[in-house]
Amino acid sequence: MTSARGETEARVIAIVAETLSIDATQVKPHSSLIDDLGAESIDFLDMVFRIESAFGIKIRENEIWAGAISAEEAETEEGRRQAVDRLKARLPEFRWDAFPANPRREDLPRLITVQTIVDYLEHRQ
């Protein structure tokens, strides 16, 4: 990992920990914010604002999980399955046994992890 990415990851971990009122050591790069850390929709409002403020950017609605899956992929069942296959290689430590093999659109936010957020932020640069 580059040191720039490492620093970004550390900052995102701190923001996630603060948003969810948990210790930073509980936030792993592959932790699902929703399934593993108990994040709710209200927490995403808070977290996105903090990320925007910390990195000086504006994040459009739903873009936060663009690091995991593109908008086009999200639209179709086939696209979503493709994205899951790709992510399985990218995030081997993610709890894939707890995630549906054929995800619906509503399941996609569960893919948001620190790692996918950092991917998104790097992609924006």
């Binding site: 969810l20 009122s21 948990i22 108990g38 209200i42 927490d43 409002l45 808070d46 604002f49 903090r50």
Partner: protein
């Protein structure tokens, strides 16, 4: 409609003790530089869901703590049906969290935000966490109490300023009598320790040396658990008092003599009062017609009865706005 009886089984309070300069803001610009402030108070033990605390400001924290204490004091069992447990709290809703808003709109040299709505929206959306509004909404204390204590019965917030807590107790008693809930956490929570309140009090003349009595802004919470009397006795609950009656009203100026005359005409006893802020204001307050019901309710009670009165008003004699009372009978049931 069944008119069951209502008792108090639990009491929880969070209060300051003494006063000093407020620690949260600089009051040196006001005539009053005192505050009855609650210091070193940790609300965390009262929140079973710690994450909710980031949305809980002072007033909410006081409310959750006091309500939690009331449930413990009442020895309410864990298996009490939560759908039968209601919440109603009084609060002023007077803190607009202006400091955060001012920060978000700062450095607007030409006051563009005033007339340019899109610009105003952009400044606010950029500068305020989206959850900012949720923190200060006046129904948040009632909401957080219900969430943390799993009270899934009726829920309400009364915002009639200084009499709101008493009115909440009156309404809670009505809920129980009407069968909407078997038990209700009722009371009030508030904090006047913010610059907006100090500015309002000063403008209203409450810090004036000519004002009637000394006024020190404070904060705190007091919550009672009210219960259906039969259920309370059946579960062996501690019975601390009974809520006999309550009444509220608005009044124009009236003398104590005129009020007592009305009571005499209705053959109602003249209620005993405890420490009204001002005798003339009490006269105003008793003119509220509902007070007659209170007097009638305590007629014939031989044990000592406590009548809680609150009258709120601006600094002029004709400005009394509202009044609430609840009569409590402390005799054993």
């Amino acid at each position: 409609m069944s008119r069951g009886r209502v008792v108090v089984t639990g009491i929880g309070v969070v209060t300051p003790n003494g006063f000093a300069a407020p620690s949260q803001f600089d009051a040196s610009g006001f005539r009053c530089r005192d505050a009855a402030e609650i210091r070193d108070f940790d609300a965390a033990p009262f929140f079973r869901q710690r994450k909710a605390m980031k949305l809980a400001h002072r007033i909410t924290r006081f409310a959750v703590a006091a309500a939690s204490m009331a449930l413990v004091d009442a020895e309410l069992p864990d298996d009490f049906p939560r759908d039968e447990l209601g919440v109603i709290l009084g609060t002023s809703g007077s803190d607009p969290q202006a400091a955060d808003l001012a920060r978000a709109l700062a450095n607007d040299e030409h006051n563009r935000a005033v007339a340019d709505v899109p610009y105003f929206a952009q400044r606010v959306l950029d500068g305020l966490n989206p959850l900012w509004l949720l923190v200060g909404l006046p129904n948040m204390p009632s909401s957080h109490v219900a969430i943390q204590l799993e009270a899934r019965g009726p829920n309400n917030t009364v915002m009639t300023d200084w009499i709101a807590g008493l009115q909440a107790i009156g309404e809670a008693a009505d809920w129980i009598r009407c069968g909407h809930a078997a038990a209700v956490l009722a009371g009030g929570a508030d904090s006047a320790l913010h610059p907006y309140a100090y500015a309002a009090f000063e403008r209203a003349g409450l810090f004036d040396h000519r004002a009637d009595g000394r006024f020190v802004p404070g904060e705190g919470a007091a919550v009672l658990l009210l219960e259906n009397r039969e259920y309370a006795i059946a579960r062996g609950a501690p019975i601390r008092a009974e809520v006999l009656a309550s009444a509220s009203g608005a009044s124009v100026a009236a003398t104590r003599e005129a009020v007592n005359r009305r009571l005499d005409e209705r053959n109602a006893p003249r209620p005993r009062q405890c420490a009204p802020a001002n005798a003339a204001r009490l006269g105003h307050a008793l003119a509220a017609s509902g007070a007659i019901d209170v007097a009638l309710a305590i007629r014939g009670i031989t044990a000592p009865a406590v009548v809680l009165c609150d009258s709120t008003g601006a600094s002029g004699p004709a400005a009394t706005l509202a009044f609430g009372t609840a009569a409590l009978d402390r005799s054993s049931t």
